[in-house]
Symmetry: C2
Subunit: 192 residues, 2 copies
């Protein structure tokens, strides 16, 4: 028996260990609460659902990404600024890398998490689209900013896939390679 967990981060660590050992679908909230030495009710004070544990601090991190983009100077190419912000968003201290691999592998490959992931991807993309709209001086809903959002997500997901497939590889280098392979020449916006 370990002492009861007393933080969101600890609860997350316990849950990820159980998902790794027994599978995400097979692990129940009761299993997690029991292993963490807390009640089911306490679990739900930390996280609204089992899915949300996998995403951990995503909301706070998304705020960080937005702050990075708000603070960025506008001199470099748009995709370079985005690349650097996304690399920063994904730079982790060495001791956090193993858990991030575990988390991302669940997010990308567990079918039961796909629907939930789609919603989170949308929120990530919206942050990128807002930045692109500001940089391009276009409304967020038109093709230019939307294409930037979708293509940036494509680059990030490609880098994640490569990272998960190659133990020991470095996520920041893969993100840089994916973004640097892409050059966008966006259509001007012609209001109707």
């Amino acid at each position: 028996m370990r002492p009861p967990v007393t933080s969101r981060a600890e609860l997350e660590r316990v849950a990820l260990e159980l998902f790794e050992a027994h599978g995400f679908v097979e692990t129940t909230v009761d299993d997690i609460a029991q292993e963490a030495g807390i009640s089911r009710r306490t679990f739900f004070r930390y996280y609204p659902s089992k899915n949300d544990v996998v995403w951990g601090e995503f909301d706070r991190l998304l705020g960080d990404l937005e702050a990075r983009l708000d603070a960025a100077t506008d001199d470099g190419p748009l995709l370079t600024t985005l690349r650097d912000a996304v690399v920063g968003f994904n730079s982790l201290p060495p001791e956090a890398v193993a858990a991030h691999r575990q988390r991302m592998s669940l997010i990308l490959y567990v079918p039961a998490l796909q629907a939930h992931s789609t919603l989170r991807y949308s929120r990530w993309r919206e942050v990128v689209v807002r930045y692109a709209a500001r940089r391009l001086g276009q409304p967020p809903e038109v093709m230019g900013p939307q294409l930037v959002g979708n293509v940036a997500l494509a680059a990030a997901l490609t880098a994640y896939g490569q990272w998960l497939a190659a133990p020991g590889s470095e996520l920041p280098a893969l993100l840089r390679a994916a973004f640097d392979a892409i050059d966008l020449t966006l259509p001007p916006h012609r209001p109707r």
Copy 2:
């Protein structure tokens, strides 16, 4: 009362009408079967689930896309070949455009369909990745082909979004614009 439907395509038309009128979630298989004048059992002979009706002939069309790419000459830039194949895949006779709009709007915007859509997107992407791998002379799982697959899906989804947002707009032109805005300089593959 209309006469009982006698083809997959007719059943699909009836179902799409009901989804449009009452909502996708609100419409049951029984509702569709009743409106189509067939039994529930007959419905399931045409389609394994309500979700699958939305995707219609996707599997057959995906085979067409693959055949187009297999038949393509390799002289133009990779993304140009892909663009032309995807435009061909999405070129519809005028009388089919309204139903395609309805279908794509369900696929892109109904949350209940998101998980299912993710699986179909993967299959579409796999076709593109196989072509890119062949063109690049690289294994399909490495960064170059994977990036092509993800970026092509990003371009297609962007074009679909713009098309759905603007009644009367032309999907082929939007697909061309999205693909033409992207230039890829793919990293060479260095086997380890």
